[in-house]
Symmetry: C2
Subunit: 321 residues, 2 copies
Amino acid sequence: MGGDRAPGEIVAGARQAFEELGIPVVLVGPTDGTLGDTGGLEVIAASEVIGMSEDAARGVRTKKDSSLVRAAEAVRDGKACAMVSAGNTGATMASALLRMGRLPGVARPCIATPLPALGDAPTVLVDAGANSDCQPEWLVQFAQMGAAFYTERYGLARPKVAMLSIGEESSKGNALTKATHALLAAAPAGDAFEFVGNAEGRDLLAGGVHVIVTDGFTGNVALKTLEGALRVFMDILLQVFAATPENKAAGDVLFPTLLQRAEPLDPENTGGAMLLGLKGVCIISHGSSSSKAIVNAVRAGHDLANGDLSGKLAAAVSAEG
Amino acid sequence: MGGDRAPGEIVAGARQAFEELGIPVVLVGPTDGTLGDTGGLEVIAASEVIGMSEDAARGVRTKKDSSLVRAAEAVRDGKACAMVSAGNTGATMASALLRMGRLPGVARPCIATPLPALGDAPTVLVDAGANSDCQPEWLVQFAQMGAAFYTERYGLARPKVAMLSIGEESSKGNALTKATHALLAAAPAGDAFEFVGNAEGRDLLAGGVHVIVTDGFTGNVALKTLEGALRVFMDILLQVFAATPENKAAGDVLFPTLLQRAEPLDPENTGGAMLLGLKGVCIISHGSSSSKAIVNAVRAGHDLANGDLSGKLAAAVSAEG
């Protein structure tokens, strides 16, 4: 029931994932027909909905029969191996955290958001918004979990991990980044990952680094800054195309290549953000998710659960704890 | 002597500012001919240079005859009304701070960087990088100084000021933004500015808000994220134009409109970033500044000094102190 285009696009994506990928998707929501034609997919009943802009903590506390809470319980109870939601991000996190619980040894779960890198493997930003005020030790765990997630998701051993800061030198940054930098540099990660020092905002889309670690406040500001910049550039392009009939004809010529080259930037293709550090897989899809985004998220959730992501995250954190 | 294209483009910009705008520019640098043809502009001798990647504090401490230190002394001594540098940002800040000194009542000077907003007045980001770890009271002063700067620079009374955070509600953010939000909301700014609550990363280029306040770490990450996104989009466009002969022809049709519409995004046109809170005007130009950027920076420095920016900043801070 979550997302700007729910339940239509969500149900359509779930059906498509089952029909095309053979992944048995369980829907969670009202059983009164609201979900439309579910194509025979199992539905776990949930009579309430936590709205997109509703207070997350209160929503989870008061709406125990909401689709988000019931979905997290389904994972906890072994009825599903992963949950996917395009709904209220804070309520998704709170439901998953409260119902699935934290992995042993994890101080704070974090959000890992894959960012596209042109002609290169994605760069994963952790924490992209779960924890606004962080301790250096938590950021070290974000690095450990981000690297384990990267290896599992993209098949790359020993990914390169960088610290998001405001200069390449270890002396650059704020108190949090400097302390975290020192911890990461002092405790070699062995085979798990390679700490390559500081990255800057301009490295987020540049490729070359696999995991970029930051606190959830800075990560969320950076993510929304990227989204805003993307929108402005698209607006400029559309204005240019619309300016004259000649421009419109030229735009028609360019449009197919443009779509193809810009495709990596489309968040629909990344499979969504992941909540790392829980006893279960939780994927947070963009609020505007289409059926295509849901298919990719279901596939990612299925693969990660089958690869025992949670077990690998717990091992990554305990290896250095 | 500062900047990736110094001294050629810097001297050319200074000459142009004098010849076209009638602003009497004083150059600071070696008098051995390194500066080339200065077109008769006065040169204040400075035998040393603080390099672009040199440690800022040590550079300023040890190179007392550097062009940066001598330029700041020229403002302090009344030989110039403003300084413009495309050199080492940290060393520019340190020189200006140590030689000009802080305005009375200012806890910490901050960097104000104008961001373009399509079809709207620019949005000024403060602090864009001077202070990595901040107190709420400093951010309140950044808001006061940012608003006074905005009014002086863009002629707008009572600009709208927002706090950069990760959600619209006052409850969203980290400890610093929540405390600052409370201070700004509790102490009405009267005629100086209107506090409109939180802004998000996607609002940086969206217009509508005139001053966005943040700590220098977050501000610098956001700024470099925008720069990185701009580069990626330009790369995609160039790849699209180069993909086929048909695309190239279409690109030639679109190029003039594209250049015109994208012009507001060119940092060369903004006049550069400003260091606010000092007894004197200091403009920090981009390291890659061309002569055109220097002309715009000289014009901005001239106008702001003539408008008594420093006096207005001191008044803005003391009004609520």
